[in-house]
Subunit: 84 residues, 2 copies
Amino acid sequence: MKFKAEIDIMPLEALLDPQGKAVSGAMKNLGLPEISGVRVGKHITLQVEADDKKSAEQKVEQACRQLLCNEIMEFYRYSLAPEK
Amino acid sequence: MKFKAEIDIMPLEALLDPQGKAVSGAMKNLGLPEISGVRVGKHITLQVEADDKKSAEQKVEQACRQLLCNEIMEFYRYSLAPEK
């Protein structure tokens, strides 16, 4: 079975996000002072081949922990759905 | 009213995504050959101050079009929810 994973990897809330801060500043120059608190992270989509949802989850967890997410500075969350 | 927007900005399907390609390759070296078709984009969260959802949507659209998303190479989608 093929699953599609949608993964978000974001800077930890406790850490500064200089890129987000820069974007917040740029919003003001753009005439959008109503926008604030910007945080910038990564969005990753991928396909996983697995027998069931549980084993697909394990593979995605392993990929996040070992490669995609630096857990010292970032956290991740994901959703999995069967591929149409 | 304060809204929270969750924005995904991804490379267009028709374009190659070299970063995603590199991650797909790395998955094989990591012992995860079941993972393929990786695409890497950005995930952005922000707060918008607006009278109603419709005007919040307009502001987020404007931010995406004018600053966050390069529509020649990327597409965006977002969801908006009242901030708790």
